[in-house]
Symmetry: none
Subunit: 230 residues, 2 copies
């Protein structure tokens, strides 16, 4: 699903560049900019893009919001403040679930200083508010873009690559290691207190079971026990 | 729940400031910085904090990672690259569910250029990878902090019943146990092969970190080491 990011009257080129960078990180490329304060192109945007240079280069620039969203089917606006608007407000996570059924979806972000006006919010189908601390709502523009891209990526259920953790040792291997350890601890007088003997053994077994050792690690531990005992 | 953010060898003051700003947005204040490239204090960090100035001002600065995490019970590290480590890897969302039961939790972020080394990752209980496009994994440092803070805040919106588990040992307790073990292994000639010495130590650290030992269990293990070595 191709997410469209629309920045409305962004002030700082650095933020445009940082937004492009995080879009690139999550594999999105459709950036639209409405009436950027410092004109276009913007060198600072390029400088901050770090991988997303092409996104900055190919960004579509519009004079007004209506033109920027004309081809979209569904528009989600971000707002730091709750206003008395007859419009559904939800979290980014909820929004992403709602828009997954829609065809061409855009997320709209207001300018750094003032956000979106009521008139601009009125153009959106849905408003999202990021669940910040309620007294410190003013998030950096590129951070807000980051959270939307991140939630979108999660929705796509991109399977996470797994770390190749080796097969856990067999219970027999683990058991033999524990027998080895207990034997050496017996010889060294570890279980001085007969009453505690069984519970100590249980504790040791719990620890080493929880560690989920691989076969190789069981061998290493046996080397450790042998070396310490010698 | 008080989230601790640890930046390891951050290079750019701007990123430290941006991280403090987003922490402030989500209501977190405990920032720790290990060996910042440009020294400390850093004017650029202050300039970018936009509301999080106090967080920058009160940031604790450490010379090494061990000191920065010594009082924590659980450490989550972020990594852009998957390495062959015997350690669980999960998404930020999964990590947040795991750490909600823990007491003092830190999230560790590596430096901008190189991230965290295998030695640094080995100190963590858990590794998270942000679900970016698999070819463009290098997220801006403050954006990575943003995603972790955001997921944490979401969790707080959905309180869940807690499970009664014993507290995990502090990193200092674990570290002292590892030093004890390595010392005794040195004396007993365990590290015969100098080439393998570091990787063996890394393996041992990974095993014992993964076991998530309690303070009591760390004491038991030290008893085991002492008894076997005597």
């Amino acid at each position: 699903m191709n997410l469209k990011i629309i920045l409305h009257k962004p002030q700082m080129g650095e933020n445009i560049g940082a937004a492009a960078r995080i879009m690139h990180n999550f594999g999105y490329a459709d950036l639209r900019i409405v009436s950027p304060r410092d004109g276009w192109p913007n060198e600072k945007a390029q400088a901050m893009a770090a991988g997303g240079e092409k996104i900055v280069e190919n960004a579509q620039v519009f004079e007004n919001l209506k033109d920027a969203i004309s081809d979209l089917n569904f528009l989600v606006a971000t707002s730091a403040e709750l206003r008395s608007m007859e419009k559904p407000i939800c979290t980014p996570e909820q929004a992403v679930k709602i828009v997954r059924e829609k065809r061409k979806v855009g997320f709209l972000f207001g300018c750094e200083r003032t956000g979106l006006t009521n008139e601009e919010l009125a153009m959106a189908d849905l408003i999202i508010q990021i669940p910040t601390h309620e007294q410190y709502r003013s998030i950096n523009l590129a951070q807000a873009v980051c959270i939307v891209c991140y939630e979108f990526s999660k929705m796509l259920l991109r399977p996470m690559p797994k770390n190749e953790i080796s097969e856990q040792a067999t219970k027999e291997e683990l058991e033999n290691m524990i027998i080895h350890l207990e034997g050496d601890l017996d010889s060294s007088g570890f279980f001085k207190n007969e009453d505690m003997r069984d519970s100590m053994k249980l504790n040791l077994r719990n620890m080493f079971t929880r560690a989920a050792l691989t076969s190789q690690e069981v061998q290493t531990m046996r080397g450790v026990i042998k070396s310490l005992s010698s």
